[in-house]
């Protein structure tokens, strides 16, 4: 069942000090980068290898990584940016990669810089990572410079790559890649209109690739193994491994890196099952912004991009939020909607106003003041937000409403008719 468990991003976990260079080298770390430094292959060759591996971005949208890299033009000044803002509710895998295997990320960023033609890479951490995750990353960066893995004319190869750590200052929206770029430029985190995309107009207007921590940390392991290994793990359309953050009502919440396509039932079992011997009620399978799925839908579901899409949800950020039979789904939605309302940057009217509407209506329902008309509002407002905004936060605010309403409408109706929840003590 636990075939290929924690073999890539979490490969050093068994080591007494997993975050050190020594630990990383003991699992084959920096082998891929040393080879590149020695052989200096055309950068397009590396892009082809990453394309062939089938790697898709782990930040949420699942965009093919090799293809993203191939958009980068040959030019004097371009950048690679690592999105370590990890802030999608329920997600805590990037933090563990930073704490336990920072060298995999550094090697991945170095390779990505080379492959995209970037001379410098920026790793943007959310401010809340100021302590341990940042310390570990900085220590690892120091080690990487000292052992001649980074810097100018690395090992006499003529290759120059410098990596810099930077910090945000508290704003969920800075996880959105163009808001992140604005933040790196020292501005408010307002998402940009797209197009142009970052590959044309990114950091300081230069071509830029933005990738998630896990995406980049996977790259060295892909390149140092024989071709076909990574895509041999997982499913045909969802190759490779994936870090799942399992949280909520399970006995042993935790991060597990497993092949894509792993049955949800196996993942649940790894986490000790639903806690307190209770029944499963629902799962948010990809971070708070994706539609919820009821227990019936989860029973036979495999955790990969296509299976989740077919079930009406998404793999998103890999955050698997488990809810037991006592969960009040109306309150869950109210809590989620409060978050998007608070974090909307306010640039687009549908998102700014719509998230406020949703939160107020849900609060009214939870407080026993809901009316039949409120259900209609919950249906209409998301439709008016979805697809009508600058960035996907608007969609992220709309999808959970649509998902919970689709599967748990009865709970809303009960609140509205009886002024209280149908779950728990009557």
């Amino acid at each position: 069942m636990t075939r290929h468990h924690n073999e890539m991003c979490f490969a050093t976990l068994e080591h007494p000090k997993p975050w050190t260079l020594k630990a990383y080298e003991s699992v084959g770390g920096y082998r891929a980068w040393r080879k590149i430094l020695a052989e200096r292959p055309p950068r397009r060759d590396l892009i082809e290898q990453v394309k062939a591996s089938g790697l898709r971005g782990r930040g949420g949208a699942g965009f093919p990584t090799g293809m993203k890299w191939s958009f980068m033009p040959d030019c004097e000044e371009s950048y690679l940016v690592c999105n370590a803002d990890e802030s999608e509710p329920g997600t805590c895998k990037d933090r563990d990669i930073l704490r336990f295997n920072p060298h995999a990320l550094i090697e991945g960023v170095a390779i990505a810089c080379y492959a995209t033609g970037a001379r410098a890479g920026y790793i943007y951490l959310r401010e809340e990572f100021t302590d341990e995750p940042h310390f570990r990353l900085r220590a690892a960066l120091r080690e990487a410079y000292e052992t001649g893995m980074l810097g100018s004319d690395i090992r006499g190869s003529g290759i120059t790559i410098n990596l810099f750590d930077t910090l945000g200052a508290g704003a969920y929206i800075c996880g959105e890649e163009t808001a992140l770029l604005e933040s790196l430029e020292g501005k408010k985190g307002f998402p940009r209109f797209k197009p142009p995309f970052p590959a044309n107009y990114g950091l300081w207007g230069r071509p830029t690739t933005v990738n998630n921590v896990e995406t980049l940390a996977l790259v060295p392991g892909i390149l140092r193994r024989e071709p076909g290994w990574f895509d041999g793990v997982g499913t045909e359309k969802s190759p490779g491994t994936r870090c799942f953050s399992v949280s909520g009502h399970v006995s042993r919440p935790g991060n597990h890196e497993l092949p894509l396509g792993t049955p949800f039932a196996d993942l649940l079992e790894l986490c000790g099952g639903v806690w307190k011997n209770r029944e499963l009620k629902a799962v948010i399978p990809g971070g708070s912004s994706v539609p919820v799925l009821p227990a019936e839908a989860m029973a036979d579901l495999n955790m990969d991009f296509e299976s989740l899409a077919a079930a009406g949800s998404m793999l998103g950020s890999g955050a698997v939020i488990v809810m037991d039979e006592t969960t009040d789904m109306v309150k869950v939605l109210q809590r989620i909607s409060r978050f998007y309302f608070q974090e909307s940057c306010g640039q687009c009217t549908p998102c700014r106003e719509g998230t406020g509407w949703l939160y107020r209506v849900l609060t009214r329902i939870v407080e026993g003041q809901g009316t039949e008309g409120d259900l209609k509002i919950l249906e209409e407002v998301p439709a008016r937000i979805e697809g009508h905004t600058i960035c996907a936060l608007g969609d992220a605010a709309a999808w959970p409403v649509q998902g919970i309403l689709r599967h748990f409408r009865g709970e809303f109706e009960h609140y509205i008719r009886h002024g209280k929840s149908m779950v728990g003590p009557s």
């Binding site: 959310r126 501005k187 949280s247 009502h249 708070s288 939020i321």
Partner: protein
Amino acid sequence: MSDILTSDLCDRIDAWLGRFPAEHRRSAVLGALREVQKEYGHLTPERMDAVADYLGLPAIQVYEVGSFYTGFQHQPVGRHTVAVCTNISCWLRGGEEILAHIEKSLGIRAGESTEDGRIFLKSEEECLAGCCGAPMMQVDHVYHENLTPEKIDKILEALS
């Protein structure tokens, strides 16, 4: 150097500047404000002006950043910042009860500081990426996970 930006603070701001190409001094605004806040506890218009001067930016560009990000404080706050996550995964495991316990034992609401200036209970909206250790909180950005009221009391008592 000025009364506000001591030579030590300038060095720390320079370390942020050093990460960016020389022509992009604006990129150091977040880092500079963070250092200033670390030094003085909170930001004021004078302190932001000093940063703007040092980086050679119009003051408005610094004010904008100061007001956009929730990590920046504009009023005096307690010495230690406590941030309790009540986002979805923590909420499912009692995050709100944890917050209520802290509010009660400190006698303040989220967003306030204790009178002795010891603790600032931040009003936290974000998930803090410690979801598998829910319920959790950060004290000065250090993670404390799998919280219980007893555990919290110990942590809070130990803060000077």
